[in-house]
Each structure stands twice: as C-alpha cells, then as structure tokens.
Symmetry: C2
Subunit: 197 residues, 2 copies
C-alpha cells in the first residue's frame, strides 16, 4: 500500500525551504505519494504558544549558521536570509493552493522557494507572484484572482487548523499517517517511517 507524505509548509520558513528541496527525493526513494499542504506558520505559532527562533537572539545567530550548513549539506546555493525577514507570505501560500489545484503544486513550490530564498525576490509582491505563476504555466491573472476567493482563503485556514489539531507547532511539519514530525532535521525519521511496513 502506498503511503502518503504530507508536507505542511509556509513560504516564509527557511527550514521549510530546505525541506522543500528534499521531499520529492524522499517520496521517490520510498515510493510515497507526496502531498503539498501550505499553511500559516504565524497562526500555528499563535495557536500553540510557540515562537520563532529569531525571538531568542543567540538562537537566531545559531540559526543563520545552521541554515548555511544545511544548504551546503544539501548541495544548495549558499544560504543568506532574505530581507525583510520574516516576510509576508499569505498571498504566496494561497497561490500555492491554487497551483496545487491546477496540478502545478510541485513546480510552484520549488520555483517560489527558490525565488524567496535564493533569488531574494519579494514574495509579498503580487507582480513577483504573477511572474512565478506564469513561469510554472499558470494563467497569472486567473490564479491571482482566485486567491481572493473565500474558498481559497478558507482552505488555507483549514490546513492550518488541521495541522495544529494534529499536533503541529512549527514548520516544516510532516505527517506519515498519524505520525507527526516537525523540522527539516527530522526528515531522516520521516523517511524511515515511509519505509516501514
């Protein structure tokens, strides 16, 4: 029976960016079905009482080093934090839902994370989002109109509430069935869970 790997992400999360570069390979190696599920990290923090690492200065400094180490480890371009950071990712996350619906989830997620964390494009800018939508083969005008629809807004909120209800407190969040894994640094456990009977 094919297992499903659910990948909850927010475009403003650098650790979810790192994980986004690995999840396709993890799914391929394990024969799992990958499900992209955008959510709102800020709302997750608020709901759970968690806070971003940057709130503790020493943790923030270590995080910057750590992100660089992971980028190197994964063979990605050198990591530098975009500015401003954190940035507004609400519209980008909604657009991911539209892209997924249109069968372009994989392409849009990869393209948008690269834009945000490698090219340092402003993902809060609708012109940037329109360009990214076009690049992955979406009709940008239609796609950006859709992110204003209540159904898309509600779906993003529902993903967020569901993740919190299932135990999430940060990003990236993974589920293999009911098993929860939080953090890019837990992908090896995710992969093990996907391999297990």
């Amino acid at each position: 029976m094919t297992k499903t790997l659910e990948f909850f992400f927010d475009f403003t999360s650098p650790y979810a960016y790192l994980a986004s570069t690995q999840v396709e390979a993890v799914a391929e190696r394990t024969g799992a079905t990958l499900r992209y599920r955008p959510f709102l990290l800020g709302a997750v923090f608020k709901a759970t009482g968690n806070s971003p690492p940057l709130m503790v200065p020493a943790k923030g400094l270590h995080m910057l080093k750590d992100l660089g180490r992971w980028a190197e480890h994964y063979g990605l371009p050198p990591f530098a934090l975009p500015s401003p950071f954190p940035f507004r990712s609400l519209e980008a996350n909604r657009l991911a839902l539209v892209a997924i619906e249109a069968g372009k989830g994989k392409e849009f997620v990869a393209r948008t994370y690269r834009a945000g964390f490698v090219e340092h494009a402003e993902l809060s800018d609708r012109a940037v989002l329109a360009r990214l939508a076009t690049e992955v083969g979406l009709n940008a005008e239609e796609a950006l109109a859709k992110i204003e629809q209540p159904s898309v807004k509600d779906a993003l909120r529902a993903n967020t509430e569901e993740a919190v209800a299932r135990g999430s407190f940060g990003a990236p969040t993974f589920f293999v069935g009911d098993e929860l894994f939080v953090g890019n640094d837990r992908l090896h456990f995710v992969e093990r869970a996907l391999r297990e009977g």
Copy 2:
C-alpha cells in the same frame, strides 16, 4: 593537528543524554580529543531568554515521541521521561567536574546519564550520587565533600558563563574551535567539522 570537541551538558537534559551516548564514538572516528564540560542549563535559558521545549505543550508532546525515535535510532533502551522532570541536577553537574578532575569524567557521565534516563534514579538524591561515584571508582565521601567547595561551584558557573558568552542557548552544546553547534540533532555537522582540514 588534533581537534578538540567540547561537549557542554547538563544531566537534566534528555537531548544531552542522547548525545552523551554518541560523543565518544564521534571523537574516536575523527581522532578528536573530547572534553566534557558540565554547565547549568537553567542558567543558560535565563541568560539567553530561551525556554525549555516543554513550555509549549505541542512541542513537549512531539519531544517525547522524538526522544523515543532517537533512542531507537541509536540502539538505546526505549526512552521514557523520568519523573519528576525536569529534576534538580546541580549537585550531579558539580560532581561531574570532580569526576573529570579525577580522570573519571567519561565513566561518570555515562553512568550518571544511564542512571537518570534509563534507570530513572533520582539524580537530585545525594545517596544516589554517592553510589554512582563509587561505581566509577571515586571515593564517594571525598567527592561529595568537594562539590561543596567554592572552587567547584565557581567552575560550574564559569563553564555556564563561557558557553553563553560563546553563543550557547541550550543543551547539548558543542564547540569545534569557535564553531558552535546546538542540539543532539547537529552531531553530524559536528562530525563533519572535526573531519575538515
């Protein structure tokens, strides 16, 4: 040139327990000199504004699962959190300094973590500490007298202040030269740093 791996730990930290079961092998594989450095995790949290994972309920629940996964991954006995948790580890940490001074650091750290996290012995109990000291070949009465000496108390405080000054915000903390690594889950980066020129 031989590199040194500094391992900052507090006996009340379950992630430092996990790391303690691996650091000798990491040092052996890389030819590094391992330096055991007890510190006071509570004081580190206070100094940096960081807080224990259990303060966020969802994080605490995930942590319990996660500790079990790591224990399994490392081939350790099934993990269960001791009760009470966190427990008072001040005297055990001081005793580690005495054991290190007497050339029994490795033995005492391994024995005491096993007592705390596998056998669920009360490390806040001096009778337990006396037994552990004896088991690793120390004169328990002398060793327990030493933990009352200002020099030992000061040395533990100095380790803590040094770790914070060098960027630590949690346990376990590792240094390879000036490079800081926080977390059992960063041991693979520690090992890479020890291997590098």
